[in-house]
Symmetry: D2
Subunit: 131 residues, 4 copies
C-alpha cells in the first residue's frame, strides 16, 4: 500500500486497510500451513499467525473508529506483525509464507507510524465521513 | 467487487473482500451516526450496523478459510446486509448512509451468490495458496 | 449451564454465556491439537474449531445486543457447533476433545432453542439493563 | 474473578474470563446507552465502550491461546478498561453504568497483573489441557 495520504485521517484509513490485508493473509496462511503439515504446524508458528490475524482486526477497527486510544493497540499490532514475519521467514521457498511475511512487515511499518499519532478533533470528525 | 472471478476460489475471495469492505464502512458509519445524533442514533438503526459489521467479519473469515460450512453464515450475512441497507436508505441526502447502503447491497449480492456454493477439494486447496 | 431462565431475555443471556464458553474451549482446543499433532491437526478438524469459535463469538454478541435479527446467526451457530462436536468425538480417550464436544453440544442446544425466538419490545429493552 | 488461581495458567484463564465478562457488559451497555439517548450517546463515551469490548475480546483469546506475546495486548486492554470505567463513572445513579465501571476496573486489574507475566513452557502446555 502506498502511504500517499498526507493527513492523520488518511494515515488511519490506510493503516486500517493494511491491517485488514494482513488479517486476511494470516487467515489464509493458517489454512495453508494446516495443509502443508510438518514444521508448518509447529504450535509457536501457528499461534503467531492467530495472534497476528486477531490483533490486526482489532487495530483496524480502532483506526476506523478514529479512536484516540489506539496507540497501545497499534504498537502491539506492530510488534506481533514483526514477530509473525520473522516466523514466516523461516520457510524458505514457500511463496505463501513469503507473501505473508511481506504483508506483515508492511502492516508493522504502517502501525508503527500511526502508533505515534493522536487524531485531532477534525481528524476524528473526518473519519466519520465518506471519503 | 472490482474483478469477478470465474472459479469457486475467486468467488470466495472476492466475497470475503466485499465483506471486509462492508464491515469497514459499517464501523465508520456507526461513528458518523454518533456524530450526527438524533434519528441517526435510533437503537434499531445502530444495532443493525453493529450486527452487519460483525456478521460481515465472520463471513469473511469463513470464506478466507475456504470453510465448507459457510453456507448458513453467508446466507445470514446476506440477510443482515439487506436489512442494514434498508435502514440506511431512510436517511435521504446523507452521503455516508448512501455509501453504506450501496456497499451493504453489494455484499448482500456477493454473499447470496456464494451461499449456494460448496467448495470442492481443489477449491479449498487453492484458498491456501498465494494468488 | 442450567437453562433456568424463564423469559426471552434470560434465554438470550444464557445462550450468549454458553456461546462464550464454547468459543473459549474451542480456542483452547486449537492449541491443544497443535501440541498433540498428527490426526489432531488435520485441516478439516482444525477448520471446524476455528469456524466454531468465530460463529459462537458472533452469536453471543447478537444475543447480548438483543438483536431481532439473530435467528439465522444462532441457527448457523447450532449447525457448526454440532459439526464441531462430531469432529471432536473421533478422538476417543482425549479429555480435551471430550470436553469440547460436550460444550459444543450444550451450545448447539441453546442456540437451536433461541433460533426460534424473536425478542419482543420488553425483552429487548430488558437486555440493556443490569440483571 | 471468583477463584484466584496461584499459577500462571490460572492467572491467564481467570483474566480471560474477566475479559469475556467485560466484553459482555460493554456490549450490553452500548445498547443501554442507545436506549437512554442524550449524554449516554456522546461519541467519545460510545467509542470507549466499543474500544473496550473489542480489546477485551482480543486479550481474552491471546490469554486462552497462552500466547507468549500477550503483554502489550493485555497492557493496552488494562488502559482502555480504565478509561472506559472513568467514562461510565460520569453517569451517577445509572446502575448499568455503575456495573460496567466496576467490571472494567476488575478487568483492568487482572490485565495489569498478567501484562507483567510471561508463561513458561509448562504454563503454555497446561493451557491446552482440560482444567
Amino acid at each position: 500500500m502506498p502511504h500517499k495520504g498526507t493527513t492523520v485521517v488518511d494515515a488511519f484509513v490506510d493503516t486500517a486497510s493494511e491491517a485488514q490485508s494482513c488479517q486476511l493473509i494470516c487467515v489464509q496462511s493458517i489454512q495453508h500451513c494446516l495443509q502443508m503439515g510438518g514444521a508448518h504446524v509447529e504450535p509457536s508458528h501457528m499461534q503467531l499467525m492467530q495472534d497476528c490475524a486477531e490483533i490486526c482486526e482489532t487495530a483496524a477497527t480502532f483506526l476506523l473508529r478514529g479512536s484516540p486510544h489506539h496507540n497501545q493497540v497499534t504498537a502491539a499490532c506492530a510488534s506481533v506483525c514483526e514477530l509473525c514475519a520473522e516466523s514466516c521467514d523461516r520457510f524458505k521457498g514457500d511463496a505463501q509464507m513469503k507473501a505473508c511475511a511481506e504483508e506483515c512487515r508492511r502492516c508493522a511499518a504502517a502501525c508503527q507510524h500511526v502508533a505515534q499519532m493522536r487524531p485531532g478533533g477534525a481528524a476524528v470528525a473526518g473519519l466519520g465521513g465518506v471519503r
